[in-house]
Amino acid sequence: MTDIILQSHSLRKEFGALVAVDDVDMSIRQNTLHSIIGPNGAGKTTFFNLLSGKYKPTGGRVMFKGQDITDMPFHRRAHMGIGRSFQITNIFPNLTILENVRLAAQAVSPQAFNFWGTVVHHKDLIDRAMHVLDIVGLAGDSLRLASVLPHGDKRKLELAILLAPDPDVLLLDEPTAGMASEQVPEIIGTIDNISKAHDKTVVMVEHNMSVVMGISDVITVMDQGRLLAEGTPSEIANNKTVQDVYLGRLYGDADELIGKDA
């Protein structure tokens, strides 16, 4: 349980004079749900993009299962077992829901560059896709076009796309962004289920505080590109610095966050 799967060593990213991520050391343990929170401009999305490989860091290293992946191209990381989502909904709109997920399963299969067989003959990939759609609760709609789904279901479809190649780590960038508040518990429940019942490590950047407190194993608070604090939800809620710098600005009482009054 305590094996470290993803790690950053003094990871740094500068945009001109702005230091977005300032020498961050972070360790993410296997099979945990690890949330990264922080106020706007804290550098959490930049840090996330460094982990996922979208940005090249200015300095420092990213290690995955003890292997240096800092310079590994974007598409190779998916083969290593890292799946990432995007802050804006990012699916294949004019393909069916099944095809969206099947493509993700195919990407890591030996069939990926097969240009002579026929898709429908590779039933294992279709089965895998249906299994994953079942987990997120979209199996019934599998033959509809992805573009017709309501926003909340599109985010679930994204989760299914991430799960299809059976990755070890899921990187989620604000999975509740743009969602109606009544849909949030549902998607959070799905994420919780994925991390606990299906043994996945989930790294989640989130804005929505109450979401993070309920399901995280570990929370890291970032501010101005640096790590401010790290710990369990209750530790973070009771952390004086965090309360002053971040939580205090948004919420008067830290107890509210861990739901003592609910």
Partner: protein, 384 residues
């Protein structure tokens, strides 16, 4: 019943027998087979109806290509060539989402390369012709690969403009180079007899038909394969395709190279039919035709380019041949529309109307309509 064999024979898998292969094949392909059968007998059927031999007319000691059958053969050879060009363009543009404004480059290379080899290489015409075809395949695949590699750096409209520039450059060179006989174009009169449209047009017709069918099957096979599924993913959302682990460049290259080679082969057929290679083959007109016909027929559908090419080509033929003259006299203005003279205006109007009425192209809109009706039927059945 203690025999294991007997127990297994009771399982439902054995009770359910799939229909025989040939029946599945027929159900899926009856329309394809019908079209190919019609195209095979067409020259003979026209010959039989009009009384003109599909092999041409005998004039003294020579056979000349005259009569209805050979006339229609030429029209269909041109359609085969255009259809292959449009299908190849659709593979790239419609299925993979790579927009090129210079696809005629490969079309022109097809005509010119074969022409240059048979005209200048002083060997047996059969050998020269085959060498020319191989050379076209070689050049178009290498060039397609090189241009495709640039799609890594240039995306969308920038890639399109770059390909346009390359094709226009080739067009200018072909029009001024001595080897290509400049503006006059290169006359191709040293073709082997079996593929000379002035001597054995029926053979050229069947070769064209074979090329057309082969191109269709290759593209069909390709887009239904696992790799072809990735083409469509790239068209939909290239960043997403990368994020789920595809090296998208590899797939784009495959698509571009196959499209380039097919366009080159289509160009060979056009060069043979015209018995010349002229700079127009490299011109932007052919690219625009391919683009527009793809849109008219249905972007990203297999049948779209074929339906579009046939429809537009036959319509153009009819409009240019027709003797319809519409006059509108408004006292001050007199407006006359002569179909055969103003054919390009008529085609333009048809274009606009088709795009408005069929926003996804003829075939694409039909598919969507069919899917929607099917959906509605399913829902109705589910509720009642």
């Amino acid at each position: 019943m203690d025999n294991v064999q007997d127990v297994f024979q009771e399982t439902p898998q054995d009770v359910f027998r799939p229909p025989p292969m040939w029946r599945v094949f027929l159900r899926e392909h009856w329309l394809h087979l019908l079209i190919v059968a019609v195209l095979i007998v067409l020259p003979h059927a026209i010959g039989w109806i009009t009384g003109d031999s599909p092999f041409g007319r005998v004039r003294g000691s020579r056979v000349i290509m005259a009569g209805e059958s050979t006339y229609w053969q030429a029209i269909f050879i041109e359609m085969f060539s255009l259809a292959v060009l449009v299908m190849s363009y659709n593979l790239m543009f419609g299925f993979t989402g790579v927009i090129s404004f210079g696809h005629a480059l490969f079309f022109g290379i097809g005509g010119y390369a074969v022409g240059i080899v048979v005209q200048y290489w002083d060997v047996d015409p059969n050998l020269a012709f085959i060498a020319g075809v191989l050379l076209v395949i070689f050049i178009t695949s290498i060039l397609g690969l090189l241009i495709g590699l640039l799609s890594l750096r240039l995306r969308g409209i920038y890639f399109a403009i770059f390909t346009l520039a390359i094709a226009e450059m080739a067009w200018l060179y072909a029009g001024s180079w001595r080897l290509t006989r400049g503006e006059d174009g290169l006359t191709i009169n040293r073709l082997p007899e079996w593929i000379d449209p002035e001597r054995s047009r029926l053979m050229v017709y069947y070769i064209g038909l074979a090329l057309f069918v082969t191109a269709f099957l290759v593209i069909r096979r390709l887009v239904r394969s696992p790799a072809g599924a990735v083409f469509q993913a790239i068209r939909e959302n290239e960043d997403r395709a990368k994020a789920i682990g595809y090296n998208t460049l590899r797939y784009k290259l495959l698509s571009i190279v196959v499209a380039s080679v097919l366009a080159g082969l289509a160009g060979i057929l056009m060069g043979i039919l015209n018995k010349s290679a002229r700079p127009e083959l490299l011109g932007v007109t052919y690219t625009v035709d391919a683009l527009l016909i793809t849109i008219i027929g249905g972007v990203g559908t297999l049948a779209g380019p074929v339906v579009g090419t046939a429809g537009l080509h036959l319509l153009e033929l009819w409009v240019r041949d027709s003797s319809i003259i519409l006059s509108l006299n408004l006292g001050l203005f007199e407006f006359t529309l002569n179909f055969s003279q103003d054919w390009i205006l008529i085609i333009g109007v048809v274009f606009v109307v088709v795009v408005l009425v069929f926003p996804y192209g003829l075939v694409g809109t039909w598919y969507r309509l069919r899917a929607r009706v099917g959906d509605w039927w399913e829902r109705r059945r589910a509720t009642t």
